[in-house]
Symmetry: none
Subunit: 219 residues, 2 copies
DNA sequence: AATATAATTTAGGCAAATCTAAATAAATTA
DNA sequence: TAATTTATTTAGATTTGCCTAAATTATATT
């Protein structure tokens, strides 16, 4: 199945937005891809024709098995390139998304399998998201919880759920990255902010908005 | 200046074909890009509008200073990716072109400068072609080699070491002269003959005696 | 120089991916 | 339930990059 860059972006967006849900709305996809609902409807017809999505007028969109398989390949390529950029080219995790967004569309089985091997067949990307293997299997890790719901005192940052560069830059400035160990000092009920501390550094406060997007596991 | 992938491919092709010559023909570009002359004319108008080429109807095409600068950037990206594929991912030289053809269109200054550093700022690619630096400077012109030792696929005849009229007549009959572009199709080990092809003509074979006396440079 | 051949351009069209504006369906609210 | 708002789809255009066929210009041959 040979897809255009635009088709790949739609498949990836639908995969991301579906995430367990039954169907995704035209509007949601349009917003995610910064395009117009009318364009989504057009593309939906094309992708249905190619049997990559299930779609009936006004009934929402969902990936077929075939579509999901392709989505996982695209996600795999994206996350492997992010690893490359961070591990080999010393990019920080907040810089890599846009570049990986382009690199992911270079389609070559051999390139991706060799890149994966070169990187040591990583299973998570720099944001902590799992990398599907060549067969599209995702290694299931223990469920992470967001920092705003964490109760344990010693935590390790395992991912961020919002990849906006604004958030990533903020976290970078605070010294929070993947694998950073945090001490949960206090949770303030009135605004749901949390005070945390990185070893050897003064404590600081994170708003609920931020802590909701930091995924952690207890140590 | 932001170019589409198609525009970048035209600029690169013109750069490659021009190579010292005054202008490049519509047909030559069409052949190189596996497209039709009419399409080249269309694109020529667009690129002239953007001031990347000089073009007057029926008078051939040449890059402007600005166009050449962009061409060198694209060539730089292409050749750096080829280095990456061969040096880091263990591809062989004949596999890398198509993949690099795609990777070269990922535009990010930072990506390319870091990739270059990661590779040790190489000055030639796996085919021996020079890699322009970030400012578009090329280290040195390639030394000429005789056709019987050439490895690159696309060659240009740059001279003959034996000036005997017998040889020159022979070459003339074959359509080989200074500046003729050759595709190296195959080298036959048993007698060291080479099969070559001139644009739009059937391939033919040259004996080692002949090929030893034809000096070429890779394109 | 006249004619034939080759190269190039024009004209008109097509497909992909997008858009705006208008129409229609679904969901919400009064 | 009826009215209103929101979501979605359709219709019709636009842009990019490409095509074929026909016309035009340049080049080569006699």
């Amino acid at each position: 199945m040979n897809l255009t860059v635009a088709e790949e972006n739609y498949i990836k967006s639908i995969y991301k937005l579906q995430d367990g849900d039954q169907v995704v709305s035209t509007n949601a996809i349009a917003y995610d891809l910064a395009t117009k609902p009318a364009s989504v409807t057009d593309m939906a017809k094309k992708l249905k024709e190619k049997k990559l999505i299930d779609y009936e007028k006004y009934q929402g969109i969902s990936l077929t098995t075939e579509g999901r398989k392709l989505a996982l390949q695209i996600v795999r390529r994206h996350r492997l390139w992010e690893c490359f950029l961070v591990d080999k080219l010393s990019f920080s995790w907040d810089e890599v998304h846009e570049i990986a967004e382009e690199l992911e569309h270079v389609r070559s089985e051999k390139l991706i399998s060799r890149l994966s091997a070169f990187l040591g067949n990583p299973t998570t990307d720099p944001h902590g998201d799992p990398i599907p293997d060549a067969q599209g299997r995702i290694s299931k890790s223990q469920p992470l919880i967001s920092l705003d719901k964490a109760t344990a005192r010693r935590l390790e940052v395992a991912g961020v759920s919002d990849q906006s560069s604004a958030l990533l830059e903020f976290l970078n400035a605070k010294g929070i990255r993947l694998g950073t160990q945090l001490d949960l000092i206090e949770r303030y009920e009135f605004d749901n902010s949390v005070e945390v501390k990185i070893r050897n550094q003064p404590a600081f406060t994170l708003s609920e908005q931020v802590s909701k997007n930091i995924m952690v596991k207890s140590l």
